[in-house]
Amino acid sequence: MNAARGSLCLKNVTVAYQGIEALAEVSLTLKPGEAAALIGLSGSGKTTLLNTCNALIQPTNGAVSIDGKKFSEMSSQELRYARSRIGFIHQSLSLVPNLRVIQNVVSGRLGQRSFLGGARDLLFPSTNVVEKVYEVLDSVGIAEKIYERTDRLSGGQQQRVAIARALFQDPLILLADEPISSVDPVRAKATISLIREICKKKGLTLCVSLHNLDLAKTFFPRLIGLQDGRLIFDKATETVGANEINKLFNLPDGCIDFGPLTSKPSMLGKSLE
């Protein structure tokens, strides 16, 4: 058994859709237990990068590997197992709305179950499973919602269900794509802090893409800047300078700070004229 559990390595990864490069020659390594925030404008390739990390997108060039093993060299069995140990919290809510919370959380572990085993967990979960779900829901603060229908919960609570589902997978790596895009700023901070705490406690490797620069700076020791599919910087948060940030968001030096950036500044500039 090698010591590295939950390391993630991208080597010269290029992803092209119909000739347009969404990612270009990106290389980076996350050590087990490390936490990094992925920042950049919309369309800079953050989602694509995260999707290559759980083999949802195959890179056109280059290779992604987990604990030293390349996705492209895995058998479908191995790939299924690898995926089952990568938690992914999606941008838009990816829960099944008319299932109960417990059923959505249980569905996170399907990758490790047979068809019948999964069906049993879903329809007639054993006490053991129920208790484990309760525990996970408790850790995200919505334990009492366990038997509620998922679409009856608020957006913030649903986001927590999604986090619980990812945690129920018992992952080694947790990836999150804009996990706070559907919650208000106060909850956003609480959510990010929660994800960060849990990963710290369990020693999970964490990579989160964020629009909100402040949150990224506050909670993450490492920042990865993406622009037009290219890696602009990848270093410890305190060493990232203001000019690098400005360059990343296409702001000329000394421009107004837009705070959490949600669209290209050039467009904002136009509407101000």
Binding site: R80, R83, S84, F88, S94, V96, L110, G111, G118, Q169
Partner: protein, 294 residues
Amino acid sequence: MKDHLIQLYRARPKTNFVRLSLLVMALLISYTWIGGGFLSSNNSIIQRTENLERFVGELKPYELRGESFNIYSYLSWAKTMMAEKGWQAAETTLAISVAAIVLGGILGNLLAIPASRNFASNFNRDHLNLSALLLAGPARLLLIFLRTIPEYVWAFLLLSLIGPNAWPLVLALALHNAGIIGKLSAEVIENLPDQPQVSLHSTGASRLQIMLTAVLPAALARLLLFFFYRWETCVREATILGMLGIVSLGFWIQDARARNFYDEMIFFILLGALIVVIGDVISTLVRTHIRRIF
């Protein structure tokens, strides 16, 4: 301001598609009217009126023809008709329709699984890979085959294979409706929001697991709606298919017509209509309920 609006109006994007199709439609109507043989008829208006009067006269029950109108005698006549043939025929019609839709629903929904391209492509977003075509293609062809052959033809073929009992009708309706339900269900499955499916796929869930966890709950309400809608149709079709010789309502309609008993014929036609209406009402109630609870 006004000039500007007029200018914008003139510059609006327009297509001649609607105008052109209206013109084509008008031409087609006049062509069929003139060329279709609707205008020539050997019967004069007077003759037609006479025919109609005689027909309406024969709709009155034969036993009651001499008497003056009395609702009780009509009711007792209807009662005898029901006792002789009506109840049994209505029961058979209903039984055929229920058996047919249950079989058709099971077969159709099972075929809908491989026929939906997102399942076939293992819930990868790009739907055009080879394995998807190899799975969804044949499944879809089979569904097309099942539904392009009309119930009536299926029943006719099966009747000569199985012999004269209710099964040819049940199977005919089941096969045709499996084709329709399979197609509709596959469309529903393909058009579901794919986020939950993709996210489960990304955690290593197999496609059958995704089907059970993400697709079935989301699609169930609509699948049930189609199921009950097709049941309505089955009730209607089970009536008509009796004309092939199986003792559902259609058989007695055909039988009465052959013997020129128009009073009996109209009675069974109305009974059939009543059954269809009852079927519609039940189906509508169930569907409203389904919409409310999901």
